[in-house]
């Protein structure tokens, strides 16, 4: 069933009883051409583009819980293309272009909202770094505007311009940056993949990866053995455990990132705003909650929940940047598991095992990458060649030194 205003009208008049499931709930077949382990945003997008771009539909996505239950369902929903290192820049640029056509492509309103993103900076040195970044964005064909303090004040009058500790010098404005409705992205890709014949299998945990003579032959799951010629690991925070089933030890450490939402408020914050002196980013959801977050809790964890020091640091940063939020109340906090790499950039690559592919290491920037990640992982799995915009996301780059370290913090996983 296509979604549009007419179908909503028709169904509404019929008591909304005619809607059908957005995707089927098939049982796993004994064999597929390809398997995607992980039914999150990246896995679902990979399946969707395998079907759409490469005509491959004998595919299953194996999800241990419910679709979209990992990081795609718990993030701060920011979509942007403001990276500056060659290798990242073209990838995120490609991703943003895919976002811009996503609703039409999926026939699903993911509420991609290009409301503009402003990174605030607080010193001459930070201005120079922002200029370097902005010029890289322009060179990539994306948009960037360098704002002075007064120009920022015009757009964001509620920031604390008298704040004495780290005064506001200006901002880097990325107008095409914005947000999207995170769950809808997962559901939209799921529905799209399902409509093209992909089997989405929930409550199906992979417990083993079968490898024969250096070649993958399938997986063992809680719902039985499934054979496949190619298997993609797209399991974000759980990547290390899944890869270990194939004997791989990866450059990944899993960390907690907390995020927060306030009670609903009438529109009061129309952009995505980030603070340059403390890790803090905020936007307002269409439902009215302020959605915000900060740094990792900084210690390896799979608990999907954080502790108070992390909470306090985010609140302190938020209050420092925009004291108006002090009157809002934090309604809910949550923690996600972030697959942190030693340079802060992801991996989309083959592994030493034939037929086993890896899409991982998204740190805490995976949401905006979903379309391009799926696009490039699908390309890799279908053609065995890296997609040009993802060619630097190699697994061996740490050994060779061809790093993509946007933060410049070096080989410590939690610092990116």
């Amino acid at each position: 069933m296509r979604f549009n205003a007419l179908s909503v009208l028709r169904q509404g008049l019929a008591g909304n009883t005619g809607w059908r499931p957005h995707w089927r709930k098939p049982d796993p077949k004994p064999e597929y051409e390809m398997l995607i382990i992980g039914g999150g945003g990246h896995g679902l997008a990979t399946a969707y583009y395998l079907a759409k771009n490469h005509g491959l539909t004998n595919i299953a996505v194996l999800e241990k819980g419910y679709l979209g239950g990992g990081s795609i369902g718990r993030n701060t929903t920011i979509v942007r293309a403001n990276y500056f290192l060659p290798g990242n820049s073209e990838f995120y640029s490609h991703s943003l272009k895919l976002w811009e056509g996503l609703e039409a492509d999926l026939n699903y309103n993911v509420m991609h909202s290009q409301r503009g993103l402003i990174n605030i900076f607080h010193s001459d040195g930070q201005r120079d770094a922002a200029a370097r970044r902005g010029n890289a964005m322009l060179a990539q064909g994306d948009d960037a505007i360098l704002l002075g303090r007064e120009e920022v004040r015009e757009i964001l009058p509620y920031l604390d311009y008298d704040q004495a500790r780290f005064p506001i010098y200006g901002g880097l404005y990325h107008k095409r940056g914005g947000t999207a409705r995170h769950d809808a992205v997962a559901w939209g890709y799921a529905r799209g993949a399902d409509q093209r014949g992909v089997d989405l299998i929930e409550n199906c945990e992979v417990t083993g990866i079968s490898v024969d003579a250096g070649r993958v032959t399938g997986v063992t799951t809680t719902r039985g053995q499934i054979k496949a010629r190619k298997v993609g690991i797209v399991t974000a925070g759980r990547t290390s455990q899944v890869a270990a089933m194939a004997g791989l030890r990866l450059p990944i450490e899993s960390h907690i990132l907390q995020a927060f939402v306030t009670e609903g408020l009438k529109p009061c914050l129309d952009h995505v705003v980030t603070f340059g002196m403390g890790h803090f980013y905020i936007s307002q959801s269409d439902k009215g909650g302020l959605v915000f977050g900060g740094d990792l809790d900084f210690y390896a964890s799979y608990a999907a929940r954080g502790n108070l020091p992390g909470v306090e640091q985010v609140m302190e940063a938020g209050m420092t940047l925009m004291p108006m939020i002090g009157r809002a109340k934090m309604l809910r906090s949550w923690g996600g598991i972030m697959d942190m790499t030693p340079d802060g950039s992801p991996i989309i690559d083959r592994t030493p095992i034939d037929g086993l592919y890896l899409d991982a290491g998204w740190c805490y920037g995976g949401f905006k990458a979903v379309p391009a990640s799926g696009w490039c992982m699908a390309h890799l799995m279908a053609t065995d060649q890296p997609h040009p915009v993802a060619r630097r996301f190699r697994l061996d780059r740490f050994a060779t030194g061809d790093l993509l370290d946007e933060e410049g913090t070096g080989s410590q996983h939690n610092l990116h």
């Binding site: 759980r238 290390s240 455990q241 030890r249 990866l250 450059p251 990944i252 450490e253 899993s254 900084f298 210690y299 390896a300 964890s301 799979y302 608990a303 502790n307 108070l308 020091p309 306090e312 030693p342 740490f398 050994a399 080989s411 410590q412 996983h413 939690n414």
Partner: protein, 84 residues
């Protein structure tokens, strides 16, 4: 979360800076390129008990903490000398 500093006793998380897995306590030989790659980048990243390195900023002691990455239970802390 509270962590045990061998010098100061149990202290709040906010006093500590995390570094990473305790595997880093053993430096490979200078010419062991793959050993260094593994040392610097690869992690067992266990879901369960782990040993990792924390700096207690107020006293300058590095602590090797044994804890659980799933339950967040903190089991013990040792100086790096003891941990090696």
């Amino acid at each position: 979360m509270r962590l045990p500093c061998p010098c100061c006793g149990w202290r709040d998380l906010r006093e500590f800076t995390y570094k990473g897995a305790a595997d880093m306590l053993h430096r490979p030989a200078l010419d062991d390129a793959s050993g260094w790659d593994d040392h610097l980048h690869n992690r067992t990243n266990p879901a369960g008990e782990t040993r990792d390195l924390w700096y207690h900023d107020p006293c300058g002691t590095w602590v090797c903490v044994t804890r659980d990455t799933v339950s967040h239970a903190v089991i013990s802390g040792a100086t790096l000398g003891e941990a090696r």
